[in-house]
């Protein structure tokens, strides 16, 4: 029998012991995965998804300051209605932001990126459900800004600025009963649907966005608006470690005086980071518990092998081979637990997301929206911790003389 086959067999040496370790580790892994995935889920409960159209969001990866051309009354409404944001600035001033402002803002201290967007509503001449959402809201921006806008394409691709192409949100694709390759007609023009966008769990910004290139949107709306240079929103991404409120205040002060007009700044912040424990702690508590659990289970399982290790030493096995056996077994147990844990977690999460959050998702598209990083990191954490947990009792056992180890109970 080859040594690797031996390791494999040896991993499942005692049914009850193996079951014990695998179930302990599986529970820990589910804990890590759920906490990783559900930080996004918790946020989502505090963010009304329709609100995304205003693009008001600030999670730990991107800080957006949003300026727009609406009166503050509109902003206050949205903000108070959702309780997610607060407003600094004047309350009674109308603000127009134009494209020249973008370049100026780009050079401000602490600003990482600036995107100008233009949002308008269309009534598509299709069988759009008029009882429900009778208007298709479309946001235009340059397709190169996909990343800053956090547009998550789950099928197809991003639109091309120079072609008559559009990306629709998953939700509206369902309402319109369209798929990639079909066309929708907006203001008497046909657009090919080239991609579907959907929210990634944990990201609250771009979920239900229908996107088209900015020039087209502006043009389509040209009749209504007399100044084509006007943007609907400017989204500013703030560099990490910069204070978002301070930057907002600076911008407000500066452009108020220079442009000789008042600015209304809408700084948004995610409520979960304000009223809950700091995000990191919230995330780390379950992970910390899970890591301790993994350590305990693996340590116990290796410790229980002390007698076996004594026998193998007595018949002439070198410490190196004993270590490879222990590490190999730990690896196999971790992978089994990870697979069982991941599948369980996916099913649990699917249930939560679809029933509680009322999302209309089938399992496959649910999988597509998942943040695969959570799984990768969890896998690396689990393997790392388990190997460390296995190493210490293995070193201890290999230091005992075979006679002592053989007597071990």
């Amino acid at each position: 029998m080859s040594f690797s086959k031996f390791i494999f067999k040896s991993s499942f040496r005692k049914k009850s012991a193996t079951l014990f370790v695998i179930s302990g580790m599986t529970i820990s892994i589910i804990l890590i995965l759920l906490s990783g995935l559900n930080v996004g889920f918790v946020r989502e409960k505090y963010m009304d998804t329709d609100f995304m159209i205003l693009g008001i969001s600030n999670d730990n990866v991107s800080n957006f300051i949003i300026m727009d051309n609406k009166t503050d009354i509109t902003l206050t409404d949205t903000a108070s209605g959702n309780g997610n944001s607060y407003i600094i600035g004047k309350k009674d001033i109308k603000l127009y932001v134009n494209e020249s402002l973008i370049n100026m803002l780009k050079s401000e201290e602490g600003v990482d990126g600036v995107v100008g967007t233009y949002t308008t509503s269309f009534n598509p001449n299709n069988n759009f459900d008029s009882n429900n959402n009778n208007i298709l809201t479309i946001t235009g921006f340059k397709s190169s800004e996909q990343e800053l806008m956090k547009i998550n394409i789950i099928k197809g691709r991003m639109f091309d600025d120079d072609k008559k192409e559009i990306v629709l949100s998953k939700k509206e694709m369902k309402v319109l009963n369209k798929d990639v390759g079909d066309s929708v007609s907006i203001a008497n023009e046909d657009y090919e649907v080239v991609g579907i966008t959907d929210k990634k769990y944990g990201e609250s910004y771009t979920s239900l966005k229908n996107v088209l290139d900015i020039e087209t949107v502006k043009q389509e709306n040209g009749g209504k608006q007399n100044n084509r240079d006007i943007l609907w929103e400017i989204h500013i991404k703030v560099k990490p470690n910069y204070n978002i409120t301070k930057i907002a205040e600076n911008i407000e002060k500066k452009y108020e005086s220079e442009e000789k007009r008042n600015l209304s700044l809408h700084v948004s912040e995610d409520k979960s980071t304000i009223s809950f424990l700091p995000d990191l702690t919230y995330k780390l508590i379950p992970e910390f518990i899970a890591i301790i659990m993994i350590l305990i289970f693996i340590t116990k399982s290796v410790h229980d092998k002390t007698q076996e290790i004594g026998l193998l030493k007595a018949i002439g096995w070198k410490s190196k081979r004993i270590f490879s056996m222990i590490l190999g077994e730990t690896f196999i147990l971790s992978i089994c637990s990870f697979l069982i844990g991941s599948i369980t977690c996916l099913i649990i999460n699917f249930e939560i997301q679809t029933t509680k959050a009322n999302l209309n998702l089938d399992f496959i598209s649910f999988l597509q929206t998942l943040d695969t990083n959570v799984f990768t990191y969890t896998f690396l954490i689990v393997i790392g911790i388990a190997l460390i947990g296995g190493l210490f009792p293995a070193i201890k056992a290999s230091r005992l003389s075979p006679t002592e180890a053989l007597k071990y109970e």
């Binding site: 007595a314 018949i315 096995w317």
Partner: protein, 223 residues
């Protein structure tokens, strides 16, 4: 003939010196001898056997086995795997492996391919009369059968010395005799040095030499 075991004034103390398990052993064993070690419980028989098999280190004195100075040698695992075949009182077989896989265990350290390993293990299984039980787990074997598997396991690396610590201690007289006969045959055919610790005078009487131990010292040597 050459001495395969040379022991001079070997001591092994436990519990900070309050237990003198070996208290100045002097002993030489020649290559190809069949030696029985006897003595009351707690006299130090197992301790002595463990010293010869390098399962534990002595404190003082000198112990040279097959040319290896065991008190100063750093890596004992190679010595254990190449020179010694150990048969324990309890067979110590691993229950998740089949009989044949248990026999193969020591061979991982001897650079044999898994095919060669299997071939050799099958031969040994045949020589202990259990070729039909190759795929059985030790859990499904009788005590005597398990001990025969343990003997086969001790032989897979072709050791020059077999050490057996009461290999028949848990067996009835029929099964005991089978095990002893097996070891005796080996000793006669292959000229393997055989050292057995036993309480059983029937077993001891089949050896060439009986050494009696008391309180960690050799008190009588039939040589």
């Amino acid at each position: 003939m050459a001495n395969i075991v040379e022991i001079e004034n070997l001591t092994k103390y436990y519990e900070k010196g309050s237990v003198k398990a070996l208290n100045g052993i002097n002993l030489t064993i020649e290559e190809g001898e069949f030696v029985a070690i006897m003595g009351p419980s707690g006299s130090g028989k197992s301790t002595l056997l463990n010293m010869i098999g390098a399962l534990d280190r002595g404190d003082k004195g000198k112990i040279i086995v097959d040319g290896h100075n065991l008190l100063s040698k750093k890596d004992l695992s190679t010595f254990r795997s190449q020179t010694i075949g150990f048969v324990f009182q309890l067979d110590n077989l691993l229950p998740m492996l089949s009989s044949i896989e248990n026999i193969e265990l020591p061979a991982y350290e001897s650079k044999t391919s898994s095919d060669e390993m299997r071939k050799k293990a099958l031969e040994l299984l045949k020589s202990v009369g259990l070729e039909d039980k190759a795929k059985f787990s030790p859990v499904k074997l009788s005590g005597g059968e398990r001990q025969r598997i343990a003997v086969a396991r001790a032989l897979i690396n072709s050791p020059s010395i077999i050490l057996a610590d009461e290999p028949t201690g848990s067996l009835d007289s029929d099964n005991s005799q089978k095990i002893i006969q097996l070891l005796k045959d080996l000793h006669e055919k292959e000229n393997i040095t055989l050292i057995i610790v036993t309480h059983d005078s029937n077993v001891a009487n089949q050896s060439n030499r009986i050494i009696n131990i008391l309180d960690g010292k050799v008190v009588n040597d039939s040589n």
